[in-house]
Chain length 669, copies 2
């Protein structure tokens, strides 16, 4: 018989995998691109929208700044891609930013990067899923009331898939990713073509006005607005470092192939982002945080959600009920879910490395039944789920938390690379090589400064909009990791075996706890006696005078050869009098060990536990705090239990049950 | 150092009491009356109101039936009081209805009475507190929004007081009870006087009409309405049996004094109930379930609560801002809270008796630090609190659940008394004595039939209004009690010591579980060795090849004299491979016992538990299911723990810590 929990586990997860099934398949570039780049490529789906949203806060007049903001994002994207190409070439082991920062800058920066990446992975799941659901709702607005439920549904689905340890065949990733890229490029080409032929597409929201119309902004306010829009546009960069973590999965020459893929990703990302932004300007898309702010919007602004920029552009170019529109919505939602999936690979892997380095609990290092890091996957799913629930599944609100982590790791990684090149430089004499290193260092230094500035901008402009949560979360995570590490190290130091040998105690004093005169007590005494202790005592706590007298009478009548000591307990406690007795025993015999035997009932039904063992559990927990005391549970399996449990545990129940029956019979006869 | 939990416990509960402090003070009649009768006397505060409420459902025209319904309730009250006088005289041991039904009718009726009483006690708390709060809100309507919170607050207060084991000095009870009785009688006398002098008091709601005005009722509907009003009026009888449970607390002659107190209670109850009902008719009080149904009501019917009948009558007689009005509201609220308190005595006591008879979990039988049955008190508080929360603290809605339990125990108790007299009759020959018994039997038989009929009426008329919950709850409780009993009896039978002796196993095979090479492992091996087992093996589970190789290397290097067996675990499990190994060992040596030693870390901070012992806990739980296996925890106290814990447990920390330090030192040297 299989327990219901085990059964459910098998249905969701499938049969367990043997450890030797672990192995890697190497990826060609055309499959590596979609696998590692679905996250950065998918950001196109929301980056433009976020820029428009912020600029609109100032008023429609400020939308003419869109190209400048977008241009700055493109430059930044190019810088980051160039910088990370250096990382790929210098650290082909795939450790990514954590490795670079730890090795070159030291432990604290390494931990900060790790914390930032962990936060970043969580946000990738939350934002990507939320944005994917946004696009689904753009296509089928009737689903709007179920937004959060659909979000959670996707997370559950992704979690189950990853717990099953499905190694995505490259194709699973390749088809939706290329389909998305193709769709976006097609939309850009057709849309720009229409505009050039003088038949510019017009978005459904082009004629909306914004309420309330803002008065002109002061210069400072305008600068802040532009910086905030830029910060939001930086979401286009999320996941750009993914390839640097995946170098070992590339075909040889690994580093070179990875660097080329990185370049391809950069070109495609920049093209798509620029094209979508251009179309957004041409079609006069209007977006606001709250649909009700749109003057001219027809319908119930609570019930009818605003459609995403991608949806509006595609509808303007191809028509709102064209096949291409639905194709775009499906592929956009798919690539966003795939992007979330990349975090399902990254988070558990990074947690596992951190656990191996003893910065996180050991459980995150062990692989589950299907060879996936199950605990890490579950942790990620729970945190992302809570975030989505707390933010009502709003991608726009979640994005405010997203960029701080990303740019923290960018900046520290690039700074680490500068340090790396400095060391290389010190060790190199060849002039050509030195020139190459000089150039590389320049790129990374520029990258570090640029991303550092952006980090400050992002923190300042988004702090009150939610980024403060991340600014708090990263140091907290670092402190927790530090404390965990300190604990493990202290334990390791304390437990280091020494020459004092095995601490063999002089003698063993066995103490049997007695609550009544019955078979469980008999068995405990029998087992205790079988270990040939140097002294053997039975003790009972007098909580109720009548019961104790009855016990003493039975004890005498049964002619037990062992003395029964009665411990008085005027306050009707069990734990403390027993503890006191054991302590006195230990003080009297400091070189010996005390072995406490506790008879325990093992019951078959959960509710039966409420009827037994309450005081013995508490006592056991407290006895563990005593040095040089062993606590031995002598279980008594109640009849119902015995049958049920054997059926559950055995591989070949018949054989072993026969064995056990024999044991019991021979003992009874 | 005291742990925060212990500290909080001491603040709330005070210092623990020694068992020998348990003892009883005997009560004179004038103190026994308020202590045992606060519940039935307080019912006057809501019984009339419930009759009016139901009749008003038919329309104001039917209020003229009030005297007839109230008259029927008075007759019933008289019958019940007379019947219970017999119980008091025949069963002076104070077992009450449960004892009478168990002894005379058998186990099942006894359990039904027990279940009904338990339900009844819970309802007493819920209804009395809710009605008390109603009166507070009648005096200070601004408190209406906090109704549920005030209710819960009273329950918390009562619970804390009872956990402290405050033995109410009779005076605590006597003053509010007599003050309430005095107030009610004063109101009745003054009010009736005013009416006789032609200056009849008029209630504030007298001019209200009821919306919608009902059309005339059919005869059947009218009969049902009257019966339902009667059922509601029967709330006046709740708690009437309390004195029969308290006989042992009376001064001698106990039974006679108790019977007299019972009679006094009956007379006072009937007088008050009749008087209040008369005044309600005279003053034309109008009450409805929903204030908004009152035509002519001025104010916000959601915010301004309807005032209780007691409040309206008192206000009509003495004026709404007179001192007497506030006096009445305070004493009414107080006596209702005291009524709730009687359930705090009854419920834990009955649970404890049931636990002693093994019908409820044993924990309900043990007395807490302050000699109160703490677990029973907490159970009662939680269930009553949940009910109040679920019913929004509405006394009217809670009352629907109240009467079924009361009349179930009435009926079965009276039936039991009939059986009792039958037996007495069979054993008696003296003619005078036989005549007395005949008369007593007649009274109880009449009581049984009358209360039985009322029980049916209550069930039928209130079934859909909530009584079905109780009709379900009582059998469920009975079944649970039966199952608990069967379990305890099965365990007792199974554990009965027999002559097969102490099941001394032939040999002991010690198995030490090893997860790494460190001091905890060394200590476990040392302790295991100290018990001189017949065989000693160390086993480790190979989850990670590299780790296992490292362990084997260290093992060899340390020249441990014990063989290390490596168990393969292709699916990376710990529990199952170890279990399989133990099972094989047992099958090979069926007459022997296996002793499993598990090194465990004991940590000082709760979160550190997350970092250790996960797999050993699971393994221990599973090993307990194996017959003839002992599980020994060999704790390793991490340094931080040791200091903290000793400080916490010791009475004289200095001495014993010195002792322990010596132990550790001597072992190290």
């Amino acid at each position: 018989m299989v327990s219901p929990i085990d059964l459910a586990k098998r249905v969701v997860l499938g049969r367990p995998f043997r450890s030797d099934r672990l192995g890697d398949t190497l990826l060609p570039k055309r499959l590596a691109l979609p696998i590692f780049a679905s996250d950065p490529l998918s950001s196109v789906a929301y980056a433009t929208q976020e820029i428009l949203l912020i600029l609109t806060l100032g008023g429609l007049a400020y939308l003419h700044l869109t190209p400048w903001v977008a241009g700055a994002v493109v430059v930044l994207l190019a810088v980051v891609v160039l910088s990370y190409r250096q990382v790929v070439l210098a650290y082909p082991s795939g450790g990514g930013s954590y490795e670079v920062a730890s090795k070159n800058l030291g432990r604290l920066p390494g931990l900060v990067v790790a914390a930032a990446l962990l936060v970043d992975y969580v946000m990738t799941v939350a934002v990507s899923v939320a944005a994917g659901v946004d696009n689904i709702i753009s296509a089928v607005p009737e689903l709007n009331p179920f937004r959060v439920a659909i979000n959670i549904g996707f997370i559950v689905f992704l979690t189950a898939m990853n717990l099953r340890g499905v190694r995505e065949s490259g194709r699973t990733f390749a088809i939706p990713t290329y389909a998305f890229v193709f769709g976006i490029l097609l939309t850009i080409v057709v849309g720009l073509g229409q505009a050039m032929w003088g038949d510019a597409p017009v978005a459904e929201s082009a004629h909306y006005d914004i309420r309330p119309e803002q008065a002109g902004l002061s210069t400072a306010a305008l600068a802040f607005l532009v910086l905030r829009a830029f910060s939001s546009g930086c979401t286009a960069l999320t996941g750009a470092e993914a390839i640097s973590n995946g170098v070992p999965a590339f075909r040889k020459p690994k580093a070179r192939n990875a660097a080329r893929t990185m370049a391809a990703m950069g070109v495609i990302s920049i093209t798509m982002f620029a094209g979508v932004t251009a179309l957004a300007i041409i079609t006069h898309v209007r977006v606001t945080e709250n649909t009700c702010d749109l003057v001219g919007f027809v319908g119930d602004c609570d019930a009818d959600p605003q459609r995403t920029v991608i949806a509006q552009i595609t509808a303007a170019v191809f028509g709102g009920d064209s096949i291409v529109f639905y194709y775009m919505m499906v592929t956009t939602a798919l690539i966003l879910v795939l992007a979330a999936n990349t975090a399902y690979n990254g988070f558990p892997l990074l947690s596992s490395i951190l656990a191996q380095h003893r910065y996180m609990p050991r459980q995150l290092h062990t692989r589950g039944d299907r060879l996936a890091f199950s605990n890490g996957i579950l942790l990620l799913a729970v945190v992302a789920g809570v975030l989505i629930y707390a933010f009502d599944g709003s991608a726009t609100r979640l994005i405010q938390l997203y960029i701080v982590g990303v740019f923290t790791s960018f900046t520290l990684c690039q700074a680490g690379m500068v340090q790396h090149w400095n060391r290389e430089l010190a060790a190199t004499t060849a002039a050509a090589e030195r020139r190459r290193i000089h150039r590389a260092r320049l790129i990374n230094a520029f990258g570090a400064v640029f991303t550092g500035v952006v980090l400050v901008v992002v923190m300042v402009t988004k702090f009150t909009h939610g980024a403060y949560l991340v600014v708090v979360a990263i140091p907290v995570l670092v402190i927790v990791m530090y404390l965990v590490h300190r604990h493990y190290m202290a334990v390791r130091a304390e437990l280091r075996p020494d020459d004092s040998g095995f601490m063999l105690p002089a003698r063993v004093h066995a103490v049997v706890l007695v609550s009544g005169w019955h078979k469980a007590t008999q068995r405990a005494i029998g087992f205790a006696r079988a270990t040939h202790p140097d002294s053997l005592t039975a003790i009972t706590v007098n909580v109720d005078d009548a019961d104790t007298r009855e016990l003493a009478r039975e004890w005498e009548h049964a002619e037990v050869a062992i003395p029964l000591k009665v411990i008085e307990s005027p306050y009707r406690e069990i734990t403390r009098p027993v503890l006191d007795y054991i302590k006195r025993l230990r003080t009297a015999h400091p070189r010996d060990v005390v072995s406490v035997y506790i008879p325990e009932y093992v019951v078959g039904r959960w509710w039966e536990n409420l009827l037994h063992n309450q005081s013995s559990l508490r006592l056991k927990a407290r006895l563990l705090f005593e040095p040089a005391v062993m606590v031995t549970s002598v279980p008594w399996q109640l009849r119902s239990t015995r049958h049920r449990d054997h059926a559950r545990i055995e591989h070949t129940p018949g054989d072993i049950r026969r064995g056990i029956t024999k044991t019991l019979d021979s003992r009874r006869s």
